[in-house]
């Protein structure tokens, strides 16, 4: 398998995530789209590690960076869902169009 296939696939996945972030108005679904983008980035990291397999531990370094991305994604989901809960408690909606308190 050539490395371009996972890379193009990850780019497609990332762009689907970008479209979700830009077009959905349910805050939970926006967070899910962000998770999609993180997964695409992780695939890229693993693929680039695989490309440099002849340089010793680099193949595993890509996987370790992917592991860090996974951990940071988990932390992000925890805080993000807490913020969404707080938004719902204060505004009785999770529509991000209604969260306009800090709008110019």
């Amino acid at each position: 398998m050539q490395a371009a296939f996972p890379l193009v696939f990850a780019a497609l996945l990332f762009c689907v995530g970008v479209f979700g972030v830009l077009s959905r108005r349910n805050a939970v679904l926006v967070l899910m789209s962000v998770e999609l983008m993180l997964a695409a980035v992780t695939i890229n990291l693993v693929t680039f590690g695989l490309l440099a397999a002849d340089r010793g531990d680099v193949v595993l370094t890509g996987q370790i960076f992917a592991l860090f991305v996974l951990a940071i994604g988990a932390a992000e989901v925890g805080v993000g869902l807490a913020i969404i809960l707080l938004l719902y408690r204060n505004r009785a909606t999770v529509n991000i169009d209604d969260a306009d308190l800090m709008k110019y």
């Binding site: 398998m1 490395a3 296939f5 996972p6 890379l7 193009v8 696939f9 780019a11 996945l13 990332f14 762009c15 689907v16 995530g17 970008v18 479209f19 979700g20 830009l22 077009s23 108005r25 349910n26 939970v28 899910m32 998770e35 999609l36 997964a39 992780t42 695939i43 693993v46 695989l50 490309l51 397999a53 002849d54 531990d57 193949v59 595993l60 370094t61 996987q63 370790i64 992917a66 592991l67 860090f68 996974l70 951990a71 994604g73 988990a74 932390a75 989901v77 925890g78 805080v79 869902l81 807490a82 913020i83 969404i84 809960l85 707080l86 408690r89 204060n90 505004r91 009785a92 999770v94």
Partner: protein, 251 residues
């Protein structure tokens, strides 16, 4: 759809799929087939997650997507990452998402309203397509040729000639086992980022608890020394504080 995708893949890769060669060649061919079966499935799940109106259906599509991505990791020689992806993402995080969706009761379709930004969805589609073009050229473009024939069947590597990068160190990197290799590197070279990540997770857990605590005085959470200030908005804890109420208060 799968048949179409595999046909396109065979054309793109320019490798004979029915390759009666030995074990090394069949490994590359197997990865090739797994990729071209899973990639359309994963993309279809991702697109339907973005498009579906019911948030619970979207969450289930995201579970499908995470499972396919875990199988990608297995194909890309990252077995530990595949297991972690299923346990953490498809298990824990998706349960958290569904829990919040059902707790808030937003699992039904949101009322369709006029978007505040006109033409938001076409603009998002255009921006996504532009970003894909940029990413395909910038990130994947340098690897479009046969010079990055990693994990390819040997004849594809031979056809690439002197430019081939046939991943010679892959077996050596994984010979002690993927989990053992990842753990060795994680606890020697990357032990400091690992510890920082653990601190980050603790901070995230504390932050989620602080944000989720029900209180009328947000100052209590950050100032524990008995300093009592007037709350900015005494009605912050009112359960039905909607935007209409806010506009009334502003007027």
């Amino acid at each position: 759809m799968v048949a179409l995708a595999t046909a396109v893949g065979a054309v793109l890769a320019q490798t004979p799929v029915a390759d009666p060669a030995g074990a090394a060649a069949s490994t590359g061919a197997a990865e090739f087939w797994v990729f071209w079966i899973l990639a359309p499935l994963s993309l279809a799940a991702a697109v339907s997650m973005v498009v579906l109106r019911n948030p619970v259906h979207a969450a289930l599509m995201l579970v499908v997507n995470f499972f396919t991505i875990a199988m990608f990791y297995a194909v890309l020689e990252a077995q530990f990452l595949a297991a972690v992806q299923i346990i953490v993402y498809a298990g824990a995080i998706m349960v958290l998402f569904l829990f919040v969706l059902m707790l808030l009761g937003v699992d039904r379709e949101l009322p369709t309203r006029v978007a505040q930004i006109r033409g938001q969805q076409p603009a998002a589609l255009l921006l996504g397509a532009l970003l894909f073009a940029a990413l395909a050229v910038g990130v994947a473009g340098p690897f479009l040729g046969a010079d990055s024939a990693c994990n390819a069947p040997p004849d594809a590597v031979a056809a690439a000639g002197a430019d081939a990068q046939p991943c010679v160190g892959l077996a050596a990197a994984n010979e002690e086992g993927n989990v053992r290799g990842v753990a060795r590197l994680l606890f020697t070279d990357y032990v400091w980022p690992f510890e920082v990540t653990s601190v980050l997770l603790v901070i995230a857990a504390i932050g989620a608890m602080v944000l989720g605590r029900r209180t009328e005085r947000p100052e209590d959470l950050v100032d524990g020394r008995g300093v009592r200030k007037e709350p900015l908005r005494a009605r912050a804890a009112r359960p039905t504080g909607s935007t209409a109420l806010d506009r009334e208060a502003a007027e």
